[in-house]
Symmetry: C2
Subunit: 473 residues, 2 copies
């Protein structure tokens, strides 16, 4: 396809995208397609001859849109905000259009250096010190994996350059709260620690922050038994309840053992842009690495996950390779992001965050997040005042955890009721919520923060929740 | 930014992209910015107030474009083709615009199922059997890492669910050719095998395919010494010379030890679309996993790397997590791609490959690749007939490895000459080539296959090479 044909087709698709965003509020939030329905609606064999753009657009409307749960919908309260702000989409259009290849600094200097610039802009906006150097990953799962790999190599003084983790005599142990994201467990397993060497530290109360006394005692026990405490992953904003592990205490305890501390702030990290929220992250400067996802609440298009380290040379020592075909005379004087993470090649990831920050401006982004915080507080207050309804955890940011308890209902009957009214809300198509376990019992998370969500959407949700609770009783 | 403001801005940027593609042939292929120049040209602090689109576009023209080495340039012969076909860009615009979130099937059924569809389309186009199930990764480095992790867990029968790799008594060993991509070494180190347990098997001749007798002997030695051969990474199309390891023999040898075989066909995999090239991949059906990158020669926008396995249940057993907030009643009946790789969340990656295949059609894509194969053969023939010039390796696909030897020059003097004329070509801005080591000596790779490259571009390159060789002598 030549540039002129592209120009015409892209104009059509841009209109399609704008029209989609205009109508998304009127679509059912959750797709009700059955498993296999999308597959069945598409040809089983690939096209030999070119198809016209109209055929593609027709399938977008006929198959793809009905097959989507609409993340950008104003009444999407499921999982967490995953805003693809249209200003960020603009940056991503340029990234795709340029088609730059980031494998070395030389292959696309601006791709590397703009990533340095926007990582530093984001650092400043978060109130983080100049000690942090950043890069962009695809997501926080990758960040947790990299952090646990770096911790492994730090504590073993580079085992991978010798006989590997398998040649180590004393087992390394890793620590996180039971409330940490499942990606942390996955990362510990993939990094080779083994499930038996991952300590799931209990929270102070169900769903709350890590019990640091339990962490201290667990690390002491391991050290006394000849194991080597290597890494602690602290969570700033848990998935279920947005609880914050006490970072200062975690870092102090870990420091006794020389253990690496990674802070997983995937969703909540955006809140660091708000000075009034920074107390939640107190102590973060003592950590070794930190990740948060501008592709969640902040509004950058997926996949924009920031990973910051205090010792880039340690990261590079674990991740670097230097094959002949990638060498250049500039190697010592530039950043080679291929040595900062798992992939060699990358697309021009920085453009979508750059466009977001420039076209929106930091003040407007902060204003939007403050709107969400206020809406979440107000929603919690309204729900908490209604008989039978409980707000189950402190509303630290924009997530409200609720449960409806009819009379004396408890145990499995209550679980069944919770899942039933949540499903009734979701199957209405008018709003989308996700249930999660808290202390072994189901509750429902109302995750406020879609860019389009206003208070009227939360009012509508609340009316719907009350209606569906009655309907399922 | 609202949909109407986006519509207007996106139209402007689409025109900017089309104009960029129209003029790219007239730009210097390689950027000549100095390290730090892009950073210095941009504000050190983030914007508080929104900026107009014009300011962004001005910086694209003033800073970003001059800071790019132009991957889509018709005289880009560096590294490997990394085509962002404009038809694929269209699909990626839709992906960014929809802003779907792939974390479970339910969060975006069409995102998951379209990925199943296009992975299967690509499988059929490659002539691979129905035994393969695919998913999309960011790149082949991730594929190699995942393959080595799965191999580790297969051979240890799930060590990560116990004490991890560190608790294993007998070391696992992994094998690849010395010509394998640096990402394979990186993957083996990160997966915990350790450098001492990675065997770099020599090629039959410098720069050629793996010596399978050496592989057999190395595996036998390890097994005899109580080590456990766990994984072989075979390369189908090496980076330096596009050599093909003999897959049938590699798989047979590995089979004696129950070792997992991964085929890294990152660049060359696109050639499987051409029936006349499939002989190069003979034996691939006996491998356990396979990766190739439609974001290279084929033309899909970065990051589109296909990863196929024969036993998805094994992959899932290594990669799966099942936290409460991601569970649904449909879990048994749908594919959950979060359990097929490292990341939890993904953007709508399939759209860019879907759009490419539909808007171009397979036959036209094959035609373009056949043009490149013919151009590479013709170029090799022209160069090989000229006094002083040598084509150093068989031209299996689209890469031509060349050296110019003035008189009896050899050793370091020859290296210096090679790097000098290559740099002279690159600094002219008229074409871009990358040097690489072959048997310890520098040569220059001419990687044909940019979508815009026609024979006239290769003629121009050849004239330029001859000119610069004289200029540096």
């Amino acid at each position: 396809m030549g540039p002129e044909e592209f120009r015409q087709a892209a104009h059509e698709l841009v209109d399609w995208v704008a029209d989609y965003r205009l109508k998304v509020a009127d679509l059912p939030v959750r797709s009700d397609v059955a498993p296999g329905e999308v597959i069945a609606a598409l040809p089983a064999v690939p096209p030999e001859a070119p198809e016209p753009l109209d055929a593609l657009i027709e399938d977008l409307d006929r198959v793809i849109v009905p097959g989507l749960t609409h993340t950008q919908h104003p009444r999407n309260f499921a999982w967490f905000p995953s805003n693809a702000s249209l200003s960020s989409v603009l940056g991503d259009i340029v990234a795709a259009g340029i088609g730059a290849l980031g494998i070395t600094w030389q292959s696309a200097p601006a791709l590397t250096e703009l990533e340095q610039v926007v990582c530093d802009w984001a650092r400043q906006l978060c109130g983080l010190s100049e000690a942090w150097s950043g890069t962009i990953y695809d997501g926080a799962s990758t960040a947790s994996l990299v952090a646990l790999l770096v911790a492994r190599e730090k504590v073993t003084n580079g085992s991978q350059r010798r006989g590997g983790l398998q040649a180590e005599d004393y087992p390394l142990t890793a620590y996180c709260s039971t409330e940490a994201h499942s990606a942390v467990t996955k990362a510990a397993l993939l990094a080779g620690y083994g499930a038996e060497n991952l300590r799931l530290v209990p929270p102070r109360r169900p769903g709350r922050e890590m019990d640091v006394a339990a962490l201290a005692s667990s690390m002491a026990d391991d050290a006394a038994a000849g194991r080597r405490p290597a890494a602690v992953v602290a969570t700033a904003g848990t998935t279920a309840t947005t609880a914050f592990d006490p970072l200062a205490e975690v870092c102090e305890i870990a420091g006794h053992y020389g253990a690496f501390v990674h802070v997983d702030a995937a969703m909540a990290g955006s809140a660091m842009l708000l000075p009034e929220c920074r107390e939640l992250f107190a102590g973060i400067e003592a950590a070794d690495s930190l990740s948060w996802n501008p592709h969640k609440w902040l509004g950058s298009v997926l996949e924009t996950s920031l990973f910051y380290v205090r010792q880039p040379e340690l990261l590079v020592s674990v991740m670097s390779t230097n094959p002949s075909f990638l060498r250049s005379s500039l190697d010592g004087s530039v950043v080679q992001y291929r040595d900062w993470g798992l992939p060699l090649g990358r697309r021009f990831r920085a453009l979508k965050l750059w466009a977001l920050l420039r076209l929106e401006g930091a003040e407007a982004i902060r204003g939007r997040m403050r709107r969400d915080l206020a809406n979440a507080q107000r929603f919690a207050s309204v729900v908490g005042q209604e008989t039978g309804w409980t707000v189950l955890a402190p509303v630290k940011l924009q997530t409200v955890c609720v449960r409806h308890t009819p009379g004396e209902m408890s145990g499995e009957a209550l679980d069944k009721h919770t899942l039933a009214w949540c499903e009734a809300v979701n199957s209405s198509g008018l709003a989308h919520l996700t249930p999660a376990l808290l202390d072994g019992r189901w509750m429902v998370r109302v995750s406020v923060g879609a860019e389009a969500t206003e208070w009227a959407d939360l009012e509508a949700l609340w009316a719907l929740m009350q209606l569906k609770v009655k309907a399922v009783l």
